[in-house]
Symmetry: C2
Subunit: 294 residues, 2 copies
DNA sequence: GGTTTTCTGTGCATCAATGCACAAGGAGGC
DNA sequence: GCCTCCTTGTGCATTGATGCACAGAAAACC
């Protein structure tokens, strides 16, 4: 049953009873309609219509086709209105991805977004691998640093994550708290194991302290935070994660050079939709309220 | 939502994930597939797919289309198999039409046909107006006499209905029973009111008796039979209707010149189908068993 | 890292589907 | 009974869709 257009033509003929009427509705010449019917009947091997001077009367097979195509047309009409509408409505899925480090910053934003637009189902994906927007894996990605500029992606700055040097209270009790960089010698530090990390504070730390002062390193950011909290050494944490934790002591206050920019990345095709725009507005509005951000 | 073929193309792309794969399945060039998708998206005003080097990933709208078109394809496949099969199977409706006069001759034939092919729903239509086969009003028509030869209709002789002159016993008791045509003067007759009737016995009667001898006339054949039974006069009846009726007395035995031929008429398009052929075979077989027919 | 494969995308030539004009035939109205 | 309108049906010209060839890019594989 290839060639769905011929079925649509036959449907209109069965519905209206005449070739001429179907041709007018379909916006084609009546000769085209006749040829479609002839081709369809030839392929099916049985007559769909009784031809006579007043028009075409559907046979039993033609009435069967009429019923099936009727529902098909309705289904397609509903589909079209759904698709046409969904670019302009805020509903359906919204897939957001980000690095795990800012998950607790974003979660309340997305919860309130979902409350504001109840028709939206929010999916928040965090994973080690970078989700690819051009594969349609997510509508919006929250990325850190100045990553590669891919074409077809529109990038907007969101906020600057402020970071500071912290130590666990247990560490301070054992080794003291250096008041400034001059007092770093003899202290132990926690740093990313990835030499090519783009995080500016980790690059600063590697450049500032001796390699043997890095007592603990890990690839996973969450593991680094755990290490600092466990007293393994002095390490960087984002201010918003450290704030309000009584077990942490601030060693050095945040500096502008340690800040890492947070970018919003969307695919150009999806960027224009109302759903994505609504989320971007909501996200930027929420980011203004973020404390601990530059 | 015009152009169902483009929906079918988009369906295959959504199903397979690549333009090339869809093109192969559809048996067209991949450029055609791309153009179909582009046209469909442009008309819908929103993207159905995310394009990338590995293929096309359906968006939410594309997945919606996939689901709708999936069921459509299945529906069309079922439709096609039904239509292809129904020309070769004996099932569905069988619409038979005839003059009312032979209804009680045909009814047992059609009942046994329905018992032989339980999937067939028989519709037996009798009406004053002649049903038109070329309008698809019936599959098979049983007609009397040598009616107009319409093109596209295949005509086959079925049987010859024998007719004889009868009178009600009540009539004979009052007026006697003429032994031959010579004794007709003084008797009363029942005849069709239609001067142009094609029934040969009515033409014979009008030519044989005086006009004022026709005491009762009617257009409806059934009314004529009722009149004869009620004793209004001597009249023609088909042998099969009169037989076994103790209230009727045969006035003159059947003659060949009074016989009217019964024809089977079918439309040429439907004549070839197994369903109609099966009925024709069944009908002719039953007609062989008909007594009282020439 | 280089090579191969696979996929998309586009300009150009071709072909088939479409539109047009006209014929024929039946139905309905005056 | 004649005329008119509406319908189907077909040969021919045209246009629009299709196929082809090639480019380019990304992924996979050795």
């Amino acid at each position: 049953m290839e060639n769905w257009d011929e079925i649509r033509t036959a449907f209109q003929v069965a519905r209206l009873g005449t070739v001429s009427g179907a041709a007018e509705v379909l916006g084609v010449h009546h000769a085209t309609v006749i040829r479609h019917i002839d081709a369809l009947e030839k392929r099916l091997g049985s007559k769909l219509f009784q031809r006579h001077a007043r028009g075409y009367t559907p046979t039993e097979a033609g009435r069967d086709l009429l019923a099936v195509a009727q529902t098909t047309e309705e289904q397609f009409a509903h589909l079209a209105s759904r698709i046409k509408g969904q670019g302009e409505t805020v509903s359906g899925e919204l897939v957001v991805t980000s690095i795990a480090g800012v998950a607790d910053l974003l979660t309340p934003v997305m919860v309130s977004f979902q409350e504001k637009w109840p028709d939206v189902r929010v999916r928040f994906l965090t994973d080690m691998r970078v989700f690819r927007l051009d594969y349609g894996e997510a509508h919006v990605a929250i990325r850190a640093g100045a990553g590669p500029e891919e074409p077809d992606n529109v990038v907007q700055p969101l906020a600057r994550i402020r970071a500071a040097l912290y130590a666990a209270r247990s560490y301070v009790d054992r080794f003291g708290r250096p008041g400034s960089e001059e007092e770093f010698p003899g202290h132990r530090f926690v740093c990313s194991d990835n030499e090519t990390t783009r995080a500016p504070f980790h690059r600063w730390l590697r450049a500032t302290v001796q390699p043997d002062q890095i007592a603990y390193s890990a690839t996973e950011p969450a593991a680094l935070e755990e290490a600092v909290l466990a007293g393994a050494g002095i390490g960087f944490m984002s201010v918003f994660r450290a704030a309000g934790n009584p077990d942490l002591v601030e060693v050095l206050p945040p500096r502008a050079e340690w800040e890492s920019p947070l970018r919003i990345v969307t695919h150009v095709d999806l960027h224009r939709t109302r759903k994505v725009q609504a989320f971007l507005v909501h996200l930027k509005e929420a980011a203004k309220e973020w404390k601990f951000c530059g």
